[in-house]
Subunit: 342 residues, 2 copies
Amino acid sequence: MSKISENSRATIDDVAERAGVSIATVSRVINKTGQVAEATTIRVWDAIASLDYSPHAAARGLASRRTNTIGLILQDISGEFFSPMLRGIEAGTREYGFDLLIHCTHVAGNDEPRLSHPLGEHNSDGIIIFNESLSPNEIRRLYRLQFPMVLLHRSPPDGLGIPYVGFENKSGARKLIDYLIDERGYRRIAFLSGPSGSEDSHWREMGYRESLAAHNIEFNPDLLAMGGFNEAQGQAAISQLLKRGEPFDAVFAADDDSAIGALSALKEAGLRVPEDIALVGFDDIRPSHYLTPPLTTVRAPIETAGREAVRQLISLIQTGKAEREILLPTELIIRRSCGASE
Amino acid sequence: MSKISENSRATIDDVAERAGVSIATVSRVINKTGQVAEATTIRVWDAIASLDYSPHAAARGLASRRTNTIGLILQDISGEFFSPMLRGIEAGTREYGFDLLIHCTHVAGNDEPRLSHPLGEHNSDGIIIFNESLSPNEIRRLYRLQFPMVLLHRSPPDGLGIPYVGFENKSGARKLIDYLIDERGYRRIAFLSGPSGSEDSHWREMGYRESLAAHNIEFNPDLLAMGGFNEAQGQAAISQLLKRGEPFDAVFAADDDSAIGALSALKEAGLRVPEDIALVGFDDIRPSHYLTPPLTTVRAPIETAGREAVRQLISLIQTGKAEREILLPTELIIRRSCGASE
DNA sequence: TTGAAAGCGCTAACAG
DNA sequence: CTGTTAGCGCTTTCAA
């Protein structure tokens, strides 16, 4: 009877025995490290196939000091933004033969003494940090350890040399507001921001202000509403703004999720979009095109950004090098919500 | 100078040394296995904290034969369904202190001989299999190995005793169509299906047929349209159906994503919803409530299902037991798309 | 081109 | 309550 019992996995020893070679050779074949005779290689692969062997990840990791896994840290899983982002990250990860570990940080958990680092040197070869999901302190700790990291949609704290991937937010917003003013004649444009810490929101606001300034329109702080990159807060913020009484003829929501909330608020107040108030967003998430009216927005390559973050991270892991900053271009998408004919 | 160099991690030995105990004791403290004196425990936690120690996952896994990781296999990441599902799974995973590994199977990859099992005994303690993302053969292989698995939104192949979690699809659809017929007076109701292999779609269709039968309405195969649980195919299918010329007064889309596509097709054909044709869906994904008109649908507890799958899986891993079948109840959500006043 | 053997950092008996 | 020690299944020198 074979040494491989019914419910226990084949090991590299089984493969070696079956192929009539040493485990070192099996290892060489699998990892394509070192020269192995053609005939031997074939015998080894045959043995692997017939035993349905897959190497034990932990054993490999322990011996090689590589986990072949990358981690993704985010606050939580929500909104329409998340799905394309993860799609890009997963695709990139798989393309390079890495596994993907996911961790959300949004709930603190209990208080007893514990091992605090969900993702790090002990279980992955590198991590992607989305937004503000990891504290600057923790980032610094990993940086000190020279642990490979890539930041997604945020820049490094202090001036740490950590690569990051994001969008051309400012120029995208600038194009959008320029269009609103130049082509559509709006001048009293409200800005619905994202959450306060968000860099995406910050730069979009900068693009908005820059456009106003370029058109000699004074920035009006009363036309600022605080949202949170989600529908509910967007709706609440615009309801508030409406109550304030400061007149405006257009709303620029810092992202499409909040634009959807804004649209509800506007409709609820009996206002027509775009006849009474124009509405534009940022991101071009999937629902934007089937809203009523369809939403004018700036298309951000969310999926590409995710994939690019993986590329940079893998490069960092494998070569120690990566680009410091990658800002992906955006595209103006004109639809009816800003008064365009189509 | 300390043995812990700048950029290399602290190990259990460092902790033991620092706390003045053996590594066995450190291990006991961390894993809460075996009795350790209060004072010792404190010293150990202190050492852990001051060294910023986290146990090497691979070493733990190798020694304990547990990875503390569960895997999720899916075809691809898309649609509005995915986000709440993953949220539930991630939350469940974290609640039990497990890590989450994600893998998509939708692209084949290259042809050279390779290690074929992305997720399995070698890198996780159990897996959640979504839909048809894993072949029956592979499922059988893992079953033979007695590897813990839970199926999400599909039942086991053959009659393997693998636990699965899903929705009460049939009764949900039944309620919905009953309502359409009894309260709204529709009788020529088209069914827009999901992809052919989908059990969710199958049982929703069964509920639909059951309702028709209960109302003495003959099932009309010409009122069947083949979609794919996504917007594009839903739209195409309804356009087709319209061209066929068979009259109908309502459409039941097997999921909300295709309902959104159906809505586009209907509008494009100049039909008003619900005045000319009523439209209903299934799932109650986020956009459903802000469609124009808002979509009548059946709310499926997507996030809860994900969380429940994790619960069952962990129970299977830890106790060897889990419930064979969990079908979560659904709820009728009435909105304007079926002609309701509000 | 191949094999032998020394760990990788932990857990889990076993002994005390 | 605590320490000693034998592996877990691999990768990786080092020799041959």
